[in-house]
């Protein structure tokens, strides 16, 4: 089965003043229908820029994006409209994702109008999508305005608005980070069910590995613009290969009093000046760095078990 979305060698260079920031460097990924891919990393690792490029909300500086078998990298303006209907973003902050003056009905009808869905189909599609996000009976909700809804209810509307054009791909950037703990679980369950029932390809962006474990089978770990590790989420958490992934996993607190409180296997801080020249971008924070790490940047390679890692410490398994 061909992937819903594929990206090859995505690059993003930002220039401001005299500074050049290579925000994303050579990121490749593929997501099939019914599959969810997680992208994790800290602020500034390039995960949000990658997601925005996948949706063509940010112009790639290099690389290719293929959606349902068609190269869409060069498409502009109106030529992107069919793609926009089929690739939707779930906003992070439900409190400012909706127009405060619109009723919920109008917020949901807007994308249908934009994508040319005939008016007589609107009511039935709105009804169906509201049932999917469990805002029923719909009559109780459709004429309300955003300020009359709680954060959890708003996020359901935001999800409904993303689903209503009938997308094949949804991209969610920190979909529950603004919500209260008691309602996060409900939204995550809805996202999972929608993906399974509609056979969506999903990309989740988060700094929270616990959330990623819950919703994504496969995960990319990014550090300073590059993918440093990729693999099945459970393997990556239980047996991280890259030293950065190890630190990231070890840093997540668990809701049990018995837990590992040993010092994190990482040096320094992300804010320290980025390293000049070649070599591994993580070497100044790595406890295991050796001479080769400064001389040569490790590429993302397939290692044991079909997992991928960009680290000189891992033996190449292709022989």
């Amino acid at each position: 089965m061909r992937p819903v979305i594929e990206a090859e060698g995505l690059e993003k260079v930002f220039r401001s003043g005299g500074r050049v920031v290579r925000a994303v460097q050579g990121v490749s990924l593929a997501v099939r229908a019914g599959e969810a891919l997680g992208i994790v990393g800290e602020s500034g690792c390039g995960k949000t820029t990658t997601a925005r490029m996948l949706l063509r909300l940010e112009e790639p500086s290099g690389g290719r994006i293929v959606f349902e078998g068609e190269d869409i990298t060069q498409r502009r303006g109106a030529a992107l409209l069919p793609f926009r209907a089929r690739a939707q973003l779930v906003f992070q902050n439900p409190f400012d994702a909706l127009n405060p003056r619109f009723t919920i009905r109008r917020s949901l009808a807007e994308p249908l109008r934009n994508f040319g869905v005939p008016n007589e189909e609107h009511a039935a599609r709105i009804e169906a999508v509201m049932a999917r996000v469990r805002l029923t009976p719909t009559a109780a909700w459709l004429d309300r305005h955003p300020h009359e809804l709680s954060g959890g209810q708003l996020q359901r509307v935001v999800l409904a608005r993303a689903l209503i054009p009938g997308p094949k791909l949804i991209v969610a950037d920190e979909p529950v980070s603004m919500l209260d703990v008691s309602v996060r679980a409900g939204i995550l369950n809805l996202l999972r069910t929608a993906r399974d029932e509609l056979g969506l390809a999903a990309v989740y962006i988060s700094h929270d590995l616990a959330l990623i474990r819950y919703v994504c089978e496969r995960t990319l770990v990014m550090y300073l613009g590059r993918v440093v590790e990729e693999g099945p989420t459970v393997d990556l958490i239980e047996r991280p290969l890259h030293p950065y992934t190890r630190a990231l996993v070890a840093a997540v607190p668990v809701p049990r009093v018995e837990q590992d409180r040993a010092a994190l296997p990482i040096k320094g801080a992300l804010s320290d000046a980025p390293l000049a020249g070649g070599g591994c971008a993580f070497r100044d924070r790595c406890l295991q760095a050796f001479s080769r790490c400064a001389a040569e940047a490790p590429g993302l390679r397939v290692v044991e078990g079909g997992r991928k890692v960009a680290c000189h410490l891992e033996p190449d398994m292709r022989g």
Binding site: S150, V181, V183, L209, R213, A251, P253
Partner: protein
């Protein structure tokens, strides 16, 4: 006991009426312990933290109860007593470090201000102390001459911790100190706080919505719901064997990075509006185990839990682990 809070009340004026944001809170903080104050937004935990420190916003006021800190009553105390306590004996770390730091002043100036004006240190001593404080929280003393905007979020949070510790207070109240930080930085900041508690015996109240942060960093926990503490005790007991259904709900609502991938269990509904609270247990409307009595009579805090069905906690815990229990009909 370092801090003893009894029947504490904080009211907010709002357009819709008076909100009882903190409504009869009892809380104890032993010297040298880290107490997690946990609950969802709007439960009153931040208001409680700010009220104890005496830094409430304009619309809020302490409406009753008692706060005894190091043997002194703070409710109704003269401003002179408050000033004496603030920073020197009790200090505050806000959620975003930018709120604790003045953006137009170099960090050195801000540290010296606290150390010299409030602490009475001479300039030379104060400078040496500022450097030591930076080192203690893992910052390079060479960067005392920086402005806050030259620091990353994690570094700013460390600087605001250094500021809070400047006069070696007995108690630090930290309001969601790591919520806005990335996971590695979050862990490093929590480790700084744990280290200071261990080495200097500083007690802390850590206000958070995150049960995992409580589990990682706190000795004791107080679970707050709708303006009241509903369960309190040693973190090990409360997290492993919660006795209040709200605490049980919170423990199942979170994904666990090393846990399974089974259904998470949301707590349906939302907390009540605290303008004219109904009698009875405030969690009753969302509680899958509520009985008639729960809607009419307020359960008192007995042995660390305020629930009419506390004696059945073991059986309720089994039921609470099942998603069907929490599903709305």
């Amino acid at each position: 006991m370092l801090l003893t809070v009894r029947n504490f009340q904080v009211h907010y004026a709002s357009r819709a009426g008076m909100v009882r944001a903190v409504d009869g809170v009892d809380l104890e903080v032993p010297a040298g312990s880290i107490v997690g104050l946990v609950g969802e937004s709007g439960c009153g935990k931040s208001t409680l933290g700010r009220a104890l420190m005496g830094v409430l916003p304009e619309a809020a006021r302490v409406a009753g109860g008692s706060v005894v800190f190091e043997g002194r009553e703070l409710v109704g105390a003269a401003e002179r007593v408050r000033r004496d306590v603030r920073w020197r004996r009790m200090s505050f770390i806000p959620q975003t470090a930018m709120n604790a730091l003045d953006p137009v002043l170099r960090l050195r100036v801000q540290m010296l201000e606290v150390l010299m004006e409030r602490g009475g240190f001479r300039r030379g001593e104060a400078l040496a102390r500022a450097e030591g404080l930076f080192r203690q929280v893992g910052l390079d003393p060479g960067r005392l001459g920086d402005y806050p905007h030259q620091f990353s979020g994690g570094m700013r949070q460390r600087a605001s911790i250094a500021l809070a510790l400047a006069l070696e207070p007995a108690l630090v109240i930290a309001d969601e100190p790591v919520t806005a930080l990335d996971v590695i930085v979050q862990r490093q900041v929590l480790d700084v706080m744990r280290d200071l508690q261990a080495r200097l015996g500083i007690a802390m109240i850590l206000v958070t919505h995150d049960m995992a942060v409580v589990a990682y960093a706190c000795d004791r926990v107080a679970v707050m719901y709708a303006g009241r503490i509903v369960e309190t005790g040693l973190a090990a007991d409360v997290l492993e064997r919660p006795r209040h259904p709200y605490t049980m709900g919170l423990t199942h609502a979170f994904p666990d990075v090393h846990g399974g991938t089974g259904e998470l269990v949301p707590i349906e509904g939302s907390p009540p509006v605290l303008i004219d609270p109904q009698p009875g247990c405030r969690f009753a409307a969302r509680c899958p185990f509520a009985m008639a009595q729960c809607f009419s009579e307020t359960p008192a805090m007995v042995d660390g839990v305020a629930c009419w069905r506390a004696s059945e906690a073991a059986a309720l815990r089994v039921a609470a682990a099942m998603p069907a229990t929490w599903a709305r009909a």
